[in-house]
Each structure stands twice: as structure tokens, then as C-alpha cells.
Amino acid sequence: MKKQNEGAEYDENESEARPDAIRIILADSQAIYRVGIRKIFALEDDLRVVAQADSVDNLYSAVERFPSDVVLLEGGMLTGTSDAIPKVLQIAPEVKIIVQATQSEESSTVELYRRGVRGVISRAISPDLLVKCVRKIAHSETWIDNQSVNMVIEAYRSQAATLVNPRSQPKLSAKEMAIITCITQGKRNKEIAYQLGTSDQVVKNYLRKIYDKLGVGDRLELALYCLHNKIIQPDEAESAQGVSPR
């Protein structure tokens, strides 16, 4: 029996699938896709759709409300949102996300993997492959096709060249430089927020932006990048220390 609640549906009938079945949330703006995929999964006793969502906001609610192993997400729903994937992972860190992309969205494949997606598949994928993909990903494997492998490796090569080439440094704002200086001094986000007169969340947002701009993944890599490229100037270090809180 299905229940509906403002664009999200959930299935109360849990008796047909095995108790250890892979729990799936379907997130797709197009009902026909949700119906079709649900029918495909209904044929497999180790796959169980626990909820459906037709928008990103409803997806957040579904992920929060229903324990799940895999989220199957339509790529088109990510249009206009920059942090949907990280937000889903923040709500449910253990969930594994598969994005169904159309041809035009495949160029963002690298970014999808970077943000935490485990698999990027075509909207035109065959039912058998879709089932196989869900099973693999539920068991902590990554699903990536040959073309995407090339794209990811090429992105990695470009990133490596950019990171170690001082001449290709992206432009950083004064606030970003101040935060970088604080990070390399070993300060925690709360300390930085206090020093710069802002909030912890704002610092986190800046940090994410800095990481993306510089192509680094964490504080250590940021410190190594700064050291190698000598990007911190003495006057920036002084102004980062001298800013007084509100």
C-alpha cells in the first residue's frame, strides 16, 4: 500500500522483499520513470523501494525519514542546486547515490563523483544493468563506465598539473585568503568564524569554495598547496590575525 505526502510517496508494504533487501529511494521528477523503475525493482526480491520523491526538497525529507541504502536520483533534479548531493550525504552519510543523467549532463560527471556520487548512469540504461548497478553500489562498489573513467582521469591529470604549477593559480578573494591563512595556522572553523566575525557555517561554505577553486580536498592538501605555491603573503597573514570579532 502506498501513501502520498506532497510529492513524496512511501511504501508501507514491506513484506514482499527480504528483510535484508537493499532499500532504495527513487528521486525522479517524472512519474512515468518512477513507476517504470519501481516495476523493475519489484521483480527482484533483494531490492525494495522505500520511498519516492519528485523534487530535491522531498528527497531531503525522504532521506531523513526513511532509512535507505541507495538513492536513485534523476540528474535533471540537480539543475539549479549546487549542494544537493552533499546535503543528502549530510543527512544520511551512509547512503549511496546513483545519478541518472541525460547525454547533456554527462559533462558534469566528474563533478558528480567529486561531490560524493557512487555511480552515474544513463537514463537509457537497460533494466538488467540498472539492477546490477544498484546491487554493486549497495555493496560499496563504484559504478563507472569507460567514458567516465577517461573523463575522471583526465580531470585528475589537469588538477595535478594545476596544483603543482604556480603559474596557473586561481584568483582568491581577500576573505578567502584570510581563511586560508587561518587554516594553515591550524585554526578550527569556530575559531576562524570568531576571528573573522562570522559564523561557523559561513566559514564552512568558504572552505568548500576554496577547496573547489584550488582543486584540493582537505586542510592538509590546502596547506601543501600553499607551501608549494607560496600563496600566502606576509601582509595577508598579519591582516588575518588582526581582524577583530564583532
Partner: protein, 119 residues
């Protein structure tokens, strides 16, 4: 302040955590930093030849066994980091391999955990 590895680092490893320990896919920075390394009860100095967010390649004057758990500190010069003192990063990791040549012992190790120690 301690750090954990972002998931993206694992894309090229196609796994999480228990992958072949010899694979380091994070970018390697060719930096020569002084390191104090502790393996078992022994503590000695080394110099990095390159460092990434997930591993380190060191030159030292003594052999370290592959598989050994190590604790080490890297010192980043304050003058370059914009700090009044050198920045010390304390790391915990594991030796992946140790080879030798005329210049000494080259040790490759993972960085499993790190903390910014000097503020």
C-alpha cells in the same frame, strides 16, 4: 584539528579504505620538509621528497620495515605559511615500502590521520 579523507580521493582507487596500500592518487607536491619519525621505540629524522594529502615519500638514514605503523611530524616553515612559528603537522600512517640506494633509505608511507599541532 584532525582530518579525514574526502570521498573523491577514493574515486580513482575505486574503493574505500582497504584498497591496495601502494596506490597514492592524491597530487604529490615536491617538497623537502624536515620530518621526525617514530617507528616502534625508535625516533629519527628524515626529509620528505614528496608529500600528498594521503602519503609521503621520505629519505632517511635507516631502514624501516614495510607494514610498520609510524608516527611522524612534518614541519612547514612559518615564513612561507604566514605564521609566527613553523607549522607542525603530526601524522599517523603505515610504511608501504622501503628501498635503499647510495643516498640512503627511501620510505613510502601512508598518511592515515593528521593534526595541525602548532598554532
Amino acid at each position: 584539528m584532525s582530518g579525514s579523507k574526502p570521498w573523491f580521493k577514493n574515486v580513482l582507487n575505486f574503493s574505500q579504505q582497504e584498497k591496495s596500500p601502494e596506490v597514492r592518487c592524491a597530487v604529490r607536491f615536491p617538497l623537502n620538509l624536515p620530518v621526525v619519525l617514530k617507528a616502534g621505540q625508535e625516533e629519527f629524522s628524515a626529509t620528505t621528497e614528496n608529500v600528498s594529502a594521503s602519503g609521503i615519500y621520505l629519505l632517511t638514514d635507516r631502514q624501516v620495515s614495510a607494514g610498520a605503523q609510524i608516527v611522524f611530524s612534518m614541519r612547514m616553515p612559518g615564513a612561507v605559511m604566514g605564521t609566527p612559528r613553523d607549522v607542525l603537522i603530526r601524522c599517523r600512517g603505515r610504511v608501504v615500502r622501503c628501498t635503499s640506494d647510495s643516498s640512503g633509505f627511501h620510505v613510502a608511507a601512508t598518511i592515515d590521520e593528521y593534526t595541525f599541532a602548532d598554532r
